[in-house]
């Protein structure tokens, strides 16, 4: 059971040839630069754009098969769509906007479930307002609620944070995380922000220039050196999933077990034993060929160089296998030459605790 999409379509100045399969649980990110075709892909899935040829299947149900003459109308696809610009109906109160899809759904959400979503998104006190009187973040929350209350079997989010400033983004991200953990439906999340992807998604599809460059689990994709140019030169780095092994209250630090390694990071709120996701940017990782002593970095992880990727410019990207966990480091060609770093070389990766980004990960029981 999964979400299967494959289609070809040509616009006047742009052609798409897309095929991917996304897991039917959790959040799958459609990631790529602006104008690469991400929105067209979800428009095809939603039935708003009919491609020249192709198929869309969700959980074994065929929604589109141009060869077989199947094209389920958008309004019968049961796909929730949250647009970048919210698209709330301006003449209806929040309550009426929320009820719009629910009233038309063949199998509406049971009352308690609907109430749970309304409170999950913090919409109780907005009900009587008109969209005109909502902030950008509130609008997106109402749009999320409106889509969810129609009881969709798949939720499409088209850059729901793109129109918000960064403080509003930080405001709505926790709602999205709760949604990811509590809504029992798959989510396709369109984004060009690697930050949002690594924070929210468990799988990702990398879209580039109308085609799918790669797809798979987020940690896998993010550790692929060949995808670095697409996953963001500057922002690229390893995404690691770990367990909070213990808190060190004296020094306000937390120890995270990642595979066989232990990483020390600044104290997190996550309770001991819970899963967290760490992002270690390649540019924040230093390499040494002998175990360094008397340095401030708290994390010195022993590993073996697995791959080195070189291209034009002063840098090389190095992938280090640390007892089964992949770390990525970006160093200069000069450093590589000085230390003669190559495949199979034993190295120590130095990671400053302050450079590690932490976000709560989905609970293990909900992952396959």
């Amino acid at each position: 059971m999964s979400i299967e999409v494959s289609f070809r379509h040509a616009f006047a100045d742009f052609a798409l040839d897309v095929a991917f399969r996304a897991p039917e649980d959790g959040v799958t990110a459609l990631f790529g630069p602006s104008g690469c075709g991400k929105t067209t892909i979800i428009n095809v899935i939603a039935g708003l754009v009919r491609p020249a040829s192709g198929q869309v299947r969700i959980g074994g149900q065929t929604l589109l098969d141009t060869a077989g003459g199947i094209d389920v109308a958008a309004r019968r696809r049961r796909i929730g769509y949250v647009f970048q610009d919210a698209r709330l109906f301006p003449h209806m109160s929040v309550a009426r906007n929320l009820a719009f899809g629910a009233r038309r759904a063949a199998s509406p959400l049971p009352g308690p479930e609907a109430e749970r979503i309304v409170s999950l998104l913090g919409l109780e006190n907005l009900q009587a307002r008109l969209p005109l009187n909502l902030s950008g973040g509130e609008r997106q929350r109402v749009a999320l609620g409106r889509a969810l209350l129609a009881n969709p079997s798949l939720l499409l989010l088209d850059e729901p944070l793109a129109a918000l400033d960064s403080s509003r983004k930080d405001n709505i991200l926790p709602y999205l995380e709760r949604l990811r953990d509590e809504a029992r439906i798959p989510i396709l999340y369109v984004s060009h922000s690697i930050d949002e992807v690594t924070r929210l998604a468990n799988a990702m599809v990398v879209v580039n220039d109308g085609t799918v460059a790669a797809s798979g689990a987020v940690d896998e994709i993010m550790s692929r050196l060949d995808l670095f140019p697409l996953t963001g030169r500057f922002e690229a780095g390893a995404v690691l999933e770990g367990l909070v092994s213990r808190h060190l209250p004296d020094v306000s630090m937390t120890e995270i077990a990642v595979g066989a390694s232990r990483l020390l990071v600044p104290r997190t709120q996550a309770p001991e034993g819970s899963r967290v996701r760490l992002r270690v940017r390649a540019r924040d990782v230093m390499l040494a060929t002998a175990p360094p002593t008397s340095i401030s970095a708290n994390n010195v992880i022993e590993g073996t160089v697995q791959a080195v990727r070189e291209d034009a410019g002063p840098y090389v990207d190095v992938r280090i296998d640390c007892a089964g966990v992949a770390l990525l480091a970006r160093i200069t060609k000069l450093s590589r030459f000085r230390l003669s770093i190559g495949e199979g070389r034993k190295v120590w990766a130095l990671v400053k605790s302050v450079s590690v980004e932490r976000t709560p990960a989905r609970a293990e029981s909900e992952r396959r």
Binding site: A74, I79, F83, R87, H91, F100
Partner: protein, 230 residues
């Protein structure tokens, strides 16, 4: 009102209101349909657009003459309507309403079309993904959002209908109590020796009506816009 106006003048006022109301009421659904049609692109759109707007540029007398040619009892369509349904526009107030409705149709179409084009097409997509079919979308999204434009168009057309003269007098003549609307009554009063006072009263009345109509149109549009959340 009866104290201020002679019975014949009061009759002309009531007739004018009736003719304009029927004219605008009957033309409204046609105007909505035409506006919807014209807000899409299709072959021949420019020609339809020109036809709809023709009454604005044609002399009203020409409109009246064309109506006479079409709906006169000797014309095929007029004869057929009379024989089949017993409908006669000639020398009847319904004819005056037909003329006024056609001539003011462009005002309505234009206002409604502007209102329709101001609606974000993305809202239709959103409604579609939420399970709304085409008629449902029209009733629950398009119509309420276009309502200010529709109302403003209708009021402007109503005010313009009150003033229609040339087409009415050409098509259905100037029959007291049947087709003598306010402008025709003014014209008659001016033509009649000693009718200046009556003419002046009617002129003031006509000006007040037109002015009230325009003010009402502005007010209604602003109020509906607020209701529509814009």
């Amino acid at each position: 009102m009866t104290a201020l106006l002679a019975p014949a003048e009061f009759e002309a006022l009531l007739l004018s209101l009736k003719v304009s109301l029927v004219a605008v009421g009957c033309a409204l659904p046609v105007a909505v349909a035409l506006a919807l049609l014209l807000s899409r692109s299709f072959p021949g759109r420019a020609i339809l657009d020109a036809l709809v707007h023709l009454p604005i540029v044609l002399p009203p007398v020409v409109m009246g003459y064309l109506l006479l040619l079409t709906f006169g009892l000797k014309a095929p369509l007029g004869a057929w309507l009379d024989a089949t349904f017993g409908i006669r526009f000639m020398f009847s107030w319904t004819g005056a309403a037909l003329a006024a409705g056609l001539i003011t149709l462009p005002f309505q179409v234009r206002a409604i079309r502007l209102a329709l084009e101001a609606i974000d097409p993305g809202l239709m997509q959103a409604a579609e993904t939420l399970g709304a079919g085409p008629l449902d979308r029209f009733a629950s999204i398009t119509l309420p959002l276009a309502a200010p434009g529709i109302l403003a168009g209708a009021i402007t057309a109503f005010a313009a209908s009150l003033g229609e003269f040339g087409a009415i007098i050409t098509f259905v003549s100037n029959i007291p109590g049947e087709t003598r609307t306010l402008p025709l009554a003014i014209y008659t009063a001016i033509q009649t020796p000693g009718g200046e006072a009556a003419a002046a009263r009617l002129v003031v009345l006509a000006m007040a009506l037109a002015f009230a109509g325009l003010i009402l149109s502005e007010f209604a549009a602003a109020r509906l816009k607020r209701l529509a959340g814009r």
